[in-house]
Amino acid sequence: MTENAVEIKNLSMEYFDKERNPRRVLDNVSLNIRKGEFISLLGPSGCGKTTLLRIIADLQKPTSGSVRLAGQNTKEARLSHKFGMVFQTPALLEWRSVLENVELPLELRKVPKKERRERALEQIKTVDLKGYENSYPRELSGGMQQRVGIARALAAEPEILLMDEPFSALDEFTKERLHGDLLRIWRSTNKTVIFVTHNISEAVYLSDRVCVLSANPARLAAVEEIHLPRPREDAVLKTEEYFKTVSHIREIFEEKYNENI
């Protein structure tokens, strides 16, 4: 029995539109995420993935249901720095250099200056931005800015890493390299990663489990264990089992869509 890092119980979220009619975005989602697990939330655009992640991160309150992280509620977990987050957009401070941006969460955790610098430099190297430490965000391309956001989340070394489509703005080459880096970091630090994506093959390649969300409202349509071998190398991408898993998940989506029509 492994301990659960995140327990999501009967979670529902309703937004109100202009006429004050409730619109259900998440419907009764329940999910246990194991400690050290790499789990993906997969679903089409607008289905509620960011909403779910934001509820876990205590950035918004659900309409009903609960989320607990290692026995704490979301607010307690946030205040005790249990998780870090990579946003869908880079969210950088433009007056801070790359290095200073990556150091920000460490400053807020009161990490001593010297250690802060070392950890930040190391993660800057991980995302392949060595040489850009003193550049300002405006001097970087969109993909480079996104990588700064990733380095920033990694530098804080949170137990749980929440990632909201971190790679969807990147080109194939950078994306593949960062996939490898992310898996390597995940393996060596034993983090729990909750990874939001709308890309089926990305979800399959990275995850232990893929949660397929249906749209309008988002329900947990299926939770698929991915049995591809670890550590995953690029070679996995060419195996038959990989293709099978990807098409299996694609079928689940097609089924869901036909149901909705």
């Binding site: 991160a57 946030r78 205040l79 720095h81 433009e94 920000l104 405006r138 001097e139 800015q145």
Partner: protein, 261 residues
Amino acid sequence: MKKDRLQSILLPILPGAVILVLLQSGIIHKLLKIKILQLPKPMDILVALTENLTKIFSDAAVTMFPAVCGLILGALLGYGVALLVTALPNGGYGCLFIITMINSVPIAALAPLMNRWFSGVLAPKLAVIIIAASGAMAVNAFRGLNDLPQNVLELMRVNAASKLKVFTKLRIPNSLPSVFTALKIGVPAAMLATIIAEFFSSETAGLGYMIKYSLKVGNQKQVGWAYIAVVSVFSILLYEVICLAEHLLLKRYRGKRRINK
């Protein structure tokens, strides 16, 4: 390169020089049917300026000291209000409303009023300038303190930043460009306020007083114009000092915004 530089110096100077020559030769006076008494020739103004140089400098000191102090105090007051309004959004908006309301009272009405409120010659003058300079600062600083992308605020929240840290790490640095914008708007406002306050003051020194006095006296018109020229020069100097400070202090903020927020 060198030619560009020469052009950028000559182009603004040339039209000014032409106008001065036209004024000196009396052509403009003839064209617009203005009497020499109404608008003395540039050379006469220059002579008046050199003949009265010591007196003019002592008057400039009388004026510029409260102008600069008032600008600084007004800026501090405006920034303080902006901080307060941001920290206490519920009670604070009233403050911002009041300061913009006071700011919209014409200075010509404010100056005699302040003469009744405060005794002496310095205090009423300062009060007028502070009011004139604080409005632009309050409004601009408030914008700088609050005009933040949602995801950057959420980044601070995810990292459990206290309200104070959100101010020191995020809001205040984000407001610095607006502070300089407000100071630049404040210079002409403060100068105008000082001169008008001096029109209404019981003091018999200062640039404002001397403009009023000299323009009234028959054979002193060119002296009045010399004072007007001095006011412009000091106004421009003060503005340039602020531009220089901005250039030196806000290096990090320079360059085109090209950031995916």
